[in-house]
Subunit: 639 residues, 2 copies
Amino acid sequence: MDEKRYQRKIYLEDKPRGEAVNEILEAASLSPKTEFIPTSEALGRITSEPVFAKVSMPHFHASAMDGVAVNAEDTYEAHEQRPLHLSKGEQFVYVDTGNAIPQQFNAVIMIENVQILDDETIEIIEPATPWQHIRPIGEDIVQEEMLFPQGHRLRPADLGALLAAQITEVPVAKKPLVTIIPTGSELIQAESSLTSGKIIEFNGTVFANYIKEWGGEPDLKAIVRDEPENIKKALLDAVEVSDIVVINAGSSAGSKDYTVHIIAELGTVFTHGVATRPGKPVILGQINGKIVVGVPGYPVSAYLALEWFVRPLVCQYLQIPVPKRQTLEVKLGRRIVSTMGAEDFVRMNIGYVNGQFIANPLTRAAGVTMSLVRADGLLVVSPDLLGYEQGDTVEIELLRPLEEIRNSIVFSGSHDLTIDLLSSQLKRQRNDMRIVSSHVGSMAGVMAIRKGEAHVAGIHLLDPETKEYNVSYVKKLLAGQEVVLYPFLKRTQGWIVPKGNPLKVNDVAGLAEAQAEYANRQKGAGTRILFDLLLKEQRISPEQINGYDREMFSHLSVAAEVKGNEKAAGLGIYPAAKAMNLDFIPVADESYDLLMTKAFFESEQGRWLVSIIQSEAFKIEVDKIGGYAVASDAEPIYI
Amino acid sequence: MDEKRYQRKIYLEDKPRGEAVNEILEAASLSPKTEFIPTSEALGRITSEPVFAKVSMPHFHASAMDGVAVNAEDTYEAHEQRPLHLSKGEQFVYVDTGNAIPQQFNAVIMIENVQILDDETIEIIEPATPWQHIRPIGEDIVQEEMLFPQGHRLRPADLGALLAAQITEVPVAKKPLVTIIPTGSELIQAESSLTSGKIIEFNGTVFANYIKEWGGEPDLKAIVRDEPENIKKALLDAVEVSDIVVINAGSSAGSKDYTVHIIAELGTVFTHGVATRPGKPVILGQINGKIVVGVPGYPVSAYLALEWFVRPLVCQYLQIPVPKRQTLEVKLGRRIVSTMGAEDFVRMNIGYVNGQFIANPLTRAAGVTMSLVRADGLLVVSPDLLGYEQGDTVEIELLRPLEEIRNSIVFSGSHDLTIDLLSSQLKRQRNDMRIVSSHVGSMAGVMAIRKGEAHVAGIHLLDPETKEYNVSYVKKLLAGQEVVLYPFLKRTQGWIVPKGNPLKVNDVAGLAEAQAEYANRQKGAGTRILFDLLLKEQRISPEQINGYDREMFSHLSVAAEVKGNEKAAGLGIYPAAKAMNLDFIPVADESYDLLMTKAFFESEQGRWLVSIIQSEAFKIEVDKIGGYAVASDAEPIYI
């Protein structure tokens, strides 16, 4: 098979998502197949037909109390002044709760109201009314009544009702079989050893688990190399046995994106490209009557496309509506720009700060898996909008329980590895609290506190005039706001260089001279400010630094850059160098403090946070990392 | 072992629920055990320790586009007026999206912006900026960064992030083993044949499935007879291997409620009786360090007690907070009376009618499983309240997704078997709609429409004056309201009697004469009104009818009463007699019509309902039941 037959197709459609979904739902018209399974194993399954009770519950008149069963007519004469004697067998029998009432009786008197005279005789002083304390036949379930219609998802209590009605096998919709085909010559299994250019295949596992969650039966196939013949065979095999087929990557318009041509050759292509960002390069087609969904390779695009196109198919098969996510009204902390004519799906962080929900966009790069992991919600910007302004109120689909968002401590500012420890220690004490941190740099952290977008910011801002850390910046930038600066820890900044320091870097002059490939930090980061100060002191201009414009967003990112490049160097904290097994040449000790609003500092969450910082357990963990000194008797500075 | 040692203990405590929970949480202090499981199988599991990335993703500088990798410095001269030629190998290489960038290059130019001159040479007309179109190492995940703290429930996308960071085995909290012991000599398996006095054991299956849902590992044991020695052995065996033990029934104060005595003998009893209704007779104790929870036998009490006491233990073990249910503000359609000094848990139906959520209590009998199945929400009345008034706004915990409640058609009034068919046919066409019906009788149905608590009411009300059905009642009771009476069907009422009609019932006189045990319907039911009219016409007084005061709530309940009692009789519709294989002697044909608000009739839901009624498929299904005539060209009557 000649690769050239599958030529590059540069332009994709921009079909509205709704239209694209409806086309495949109509073409598929999947309907459920029934299978009977034991009721006790039917949790979460969907009834495929209405279910009717086989027996009543109770299926006999049952006593609702411990006591005696009587015939009410026999007791009408009983009175406090004229106690009545009843004889066992003929006029009463003892019953416990749940016991059957013998046919000749029609009422129950509670044992507390019975005087036992001897083995054969009781005395009562009050008449019984007919049917008192009796659970009549069918009080709970009446034989032949409909317990559930079709399309009902069975919950634990539902299984009880089914068994009570003696339905030991229940008709449920068979799970639709969804075959997942990962393609790509660059893909390897996560267990393999990594080499440059190879990428771990993980989308398939994600797909399989989404499909499981949605009620389908996933079948994840082995990785298929980028050869048209292989892909063709995999597709033909899959449509033979599956209800739905998902093929990952090759859905775009690149030179090795064969998929669309192959589907066109074997069947029909309904759509190639939908009007969404991300997620545009989607293929929707049909081979031998089975819907084939080609999803993009970038993880975020891939999962969104799966939800848009595969989930409705699974739900159609199960005869249930596509569940909707809980929504929340939030205020936007930043402006959001959107493409006209396409739906934009923006992953958002949500913080509950000062009594309101504030949301900020995460990275919009479709390749960043962690943006989905970290997202609290999804903002869908409709195709006719150019976006939203900062401060606008918008509705967001939640990706996490609201409770979890409400209980999150929003951590902003500079990155430090101890924040993860703090997070983990806090969760050990208070599993309902959570630290959500974004690494935006010290200056941006201060601004987040100013704008009410965060509870806490980690900062290390050196004042070039006074050589003092943090206080002067906070006073200047947050004048008039009630904030607290909590002295958190001292740490050492230094050069992060490859093992053995091949370029012999020990100051900025040496860095410039050696033409090291420098991994700089983003504007506003405390480490960047320190670096600029060092340049100024040694009168080196930024132009003399190779890589000055290259911005990393955390100490670990800098260390990751240095690792594996003998010519690289960066400035950062010791633990980052240690974690990546790199060399470290100390430059300066600095104060990394926690800036908080006074309201947060005094809140329950704030008090917990401080108590964790002051705990022995936390100090021990920090010492294990090394390179830190925790301020042990720190006094907060009210500003 | 002598049963007498375990004497009746009549009084239970009324301990506040919160206090009771805290005691066992403290006594248990369950902490998680870690197990490493394959990441691909970890969906829904809870991390037991923080998880750090083993590799970066990407772990090399990767191209973000299809194009050529270049050294940016080599391209600075390129200009539209001065095209620049680059030679392959030395000055550029071709790269596809995801390919590694060779170390000597630092930028990518998109293939669209490249002119290919020959196999060795390309031309560009614009300079590249350093690092353009390159995904740097760690853009998504940086080696050593914390991906998840402990206590995180893994979702599909999370598994992708783990695999991407080459974590193929993930540390998760082992599921706590919860042993469930059903006790009771009256219990049988659902597969057994039912005899009088025997009850199907189904609580155990419900418990097991709740525990599964909450993240535990249930172990449901065989039924244990009510013998102290058996119970003791079962408990001792269970505490040996389990993390938590649940024993069902025997937790009250009856003569066979041994459990509390046994737990006291083998260990400690913390609590016997909590201040809740239902759910009061709970036992909380400890044997050999393991918490033992004794839950009541009545299903509703049992499931609530499980949620209150076992769920927090499971969550403590998994180190996660107890999830909270979504809540909703609703208006109460009826008054709710509550016990002072105890929390009341009232199962509620919620209808979204005329743009507001109206909630009404379901039966409060703790023995009615179906009340939990049917409940949309739970109203918790705090111990210091005597209840709520009709019209009060209260907050309800939802037991069903809000979307499902909002899309429900609330059906009230008289019971008819075709309503189930309607429900099932509607769901076939519109799986996002649902009919929720309560059988309250025709008059109560009219009142529900009047009070805005229902969308539709099935009614069959015979006017004794005019002998006309429904119209005169509606005109009188709903004067001034815009409603529609939709002619639904004609059906036959008649005597429901045992096979062969042993008492030869064929009119009310015969019924009185034979002293049949009559199963009457509730006040306000159309069938009751018909019966009263028959009595009046034949001048029989209610006192002459044996069982006149005995009220059944549906045709099927009447038929269930008649079945198995040779002396019984009832009045009802033909299909009910047929379903229970009873004889039927026709008495009168009647009109069973649907009363709707005009707003509902004209809504999307209303139009769907009518289209289903008019469909051929529905008529065929109704004909299969028999005894009905569907009004095929019915014209709605606007009143």
